[in-house]
């Protein structure tokens, strides 16, 4: 746990974050704040630096410039696993299950992490049982033995849920979701959306990278638009989509005939 928060201080403060890969500025000079319980959507065209931004925040890539403060702790130079232990966790755009294991065994590592192991929950009985509870919570039907199947045999919808479950097993303060809806059918999205809404109502702070705007706007209170690594606009969804620059970057120029 961090040093605790006053009401005014945001949970996550990001200042002048920059990263370039050999001359290409993937993220340049991005700053924003995130309050507790808020849902921030990050949108932008392909290659605009959304995932890189997320990698920078969660410590998976080293930062060139800028600072990140989470829960009153400076995490600019903190290694990724320690950031996860502070309660800032992430999902991966390309799902990363342990395919050779049963699904519930996939949740043993997060339950084994120092954050959970040394908490009340870590001592509560068998980790397998806790893992199955967490999985059932995100929609793995225990009665149909889904948590017991090999993770490699599950369809994508379940694997995306598994990514979320891995985050939830950590008892996070904030989750960074990297395109949880991508590659899913409409039916799968429709069943996943209530889960995200429930996390929001439980007071978990969420950063969502998403291309599915309709679904994103249902949950996100604020949208950050990126283009070519730069923050293009920030604000409530309706306002942001009215922005001329955003329309140009996202939808293309309007052609007058």
């Amino acid at each position: 746990m961090g040093k605790g928060l006053t009401m005014e201080e945001p949970l996550l403060q990001i200042r002048n974050l920059s990263k370039s890969f050999g001359g290409v500025a993937a993220v340049s000079d991005v700053s924003f704040d995130l309050c507790k319980g808020e849902v921030l959507g990050i949108i932008g065209p392909n290659g605009s630096g959304k995932t890189t931004l997320l990698n920078l925040i969660t410590g998976f890539i080293a930062k060139d410039h800028g600072t990140v403060v989470f829960d009153g702790t400076d995490i600019t130079r903190t290694p990724a696993h320690k950031i996860s232990n502070l309660g800032l966790v992430r999902t991966f755009q390309i799902v990363r299950p342990y395919v050779t294991m049963q699904t519930f065994k996939n949740l043993i590592p997060p339950l084994f992490s120092p954050r959970v192991k040394h908490s009340e929950r870590g001592k509560l009985g068998d980790r397998d049982a806790v893992a199955i509870d967490v999985l059932e919570d995100v929609g793995f039907e225990r009665d149909a033995y889904v948590p017991y199947k090999l993770a490699g045999s599950l369809p994508l919808g379940y694997l995306k849920r598994l990514e979320l479950a891995r985050c939830l097993a950590m008892k996070p303060l904030a989750i960074c979701c990297d395109e949880v809806f991508s590659g899913l059918s409409m039916a799968e999205i429709a069943s996943l959306l209530p889960l995200v809404e429930r996390l929001q109502s439980e007071g978990i702070t969420i950063i969502m990278i998403e291309h599915r705007l309709r679904e994103l706007f249902r949950v996100a209170g604020r949208i950050l638009v990126m283009n070519f690594g730069v923050k293009l606009a920030e604000g409530p969804p309706a306002e942001v989509m009215k922005d001329k620059n955003v329309r140009r970057a996202y939808l293309g120029e309007e052609v007058k005939v």
């Binding site: 290694p79 991966f92 299950p97 342990y98 050779t100 294991m101 339950l111 084994f112 959970v116």
Partner: protein
């Protein structure tokens, strides 16, 4: 015109296997025996072996077999449960042997203490040496572990330290051949069953997670390098014990203990015995070490013959002996029409 019949092999778990998977196994002797028989069989064969072999020479072979088995089980653990392909057998053996040699020769420690210190201390040194290369994967890690023993051997010869090319002679040897045989066999069994227990614990799941997907392990708040180092330490401990034991078996330490045989043989034993089973590599050693002794008459051709064995196994029987035996033991097969 003949009708072509396409058939495939169907495999089903035996009832007794399914029943003995759960806690209900303890409810009947048959199920208990089903689980116990292979394990007890292995222990029995190993314990009876020193009494059954004809001569002192073959008793010595059992000791060597034990050392190779430690290396092979350690190799299998690192490669198939942590995802690190380590060819560091020679490094572990050499470091363990030289450490116990120094402790015994220069400080006059009795072998029991020297071996204990060399096991833990040597594993610590090996882990430190390999620490910078732990982020590497696959063949790159293998190359590094392969290079270190060659390097250390050359340093010892070139700088003429620790006895140089002559090595350190005149170490204390084991008081009896029985002690030497049963101590190594006990350690082999202890490490085998200990490791099997470990990989089924939660920390074992983390190890397999490191192998499958290290990024997900990082995202789960666990330090990948720490767990890799822990696994290397365990494997190195087994190797260093083997080295320290060899030093006191021969009563001598020399640069030949850094020989690449110690790196390559565990690999062959694992391929033959059955990768990913832990007991398989031990089985591989129990078969290959005696074969390799019997082939001594062929001189240099010996290497050709057991290289050929490995090639044949990789090409035609890559699952290895134990995986095959296990399948036969736990399942029945029959042909069905498609």
């Amino acid at each position: 015109m003949t009708e072509e019949v396409i058939r495939r092999k169907e495999r089903l778990d035996r009832g007794i296997k399914v029943r003995s998977d759960t806690v209900y196994a303890v409810s009947s002797w048959r199920e208990i025996l089903f689980l116990l028989a292979p394990r007890a069989g292995l222990i029995f064969v190993l314990l009876i072996a020193p009494l059954a072999v004809p001569s002192l020479y073959w008793q010595r072979v059992i000791c060597i077999m034990g050392v190779y088995a430690l290396l092979a089980v350690g190799f299998d653990f690192l490669a198939h449960f942590v995802g690190l392909v380590s060819l560091g057998g020679a490094l572990f053996i050499g470091v363990g042997a030289y450490l116990t040699g120094c402790l015994n020769h220069y400080l006059g420690l009795p072998p029991v203490f020297a071996i204990c210190i060399a096991t833990v201390g040597g594993a610590f040194i090996c882990t430190l040496i390999l620490l910078p290369s732990l982020p590497l994967k696959g063949v790159y890690f293998a190359i590094i572990t392969f290079a270190f023993p060659i390097m250390i051997e050359r340093i010892i010869v070139a700088a003429n330290i620790l006895g140089g090319t002559d090595g350190i002679p005149g170490l204390d040897v084991f008081s009896s051949t029985w002690l030497s045989q049963y101590s190594i066999l006990a350690i082999v069994l202890l490490s085998l069953f200990g490791l099997r227990r470990l990989v089924n614990e939660d920390v074992g799941v983390v190890f397999r997670g490191v192998k499958d997907n290290d990024q997900a392990i990082r995202a789960s708040g666990l330090n990948v390098t720490y767990y890799k180092a822990m696994a290397v330490f365990l494997s190195a401990m087994m190797g260093c014990f083997g080295g320290a034991y060899l030093a006191h078996l021969y009563g001598w330490v020399g640069t030949s203990l850094f020989s690449l045989d110690f790196s390559v043989f565990p690999l062959v034993a694992t391929v033959v015995g059955g990768p990913g089973t832990l007991a398989g590599p031990l089985l591989g050693c129990m078969i290959l070490v005696p074969i390799s002794e019997m082939l001594r008459a062929f001189g240099a051709l010996r290497v050709v013959i057991y290289s050929l064995i490995m090639v044949l196994f990789i090409l035609f029987w890559s699952e290895g002996l134990l995986n095959w035996a296990r399948r036969k033991y736990e399942q029945f097969e029959h042909w069905v029409r498609v």
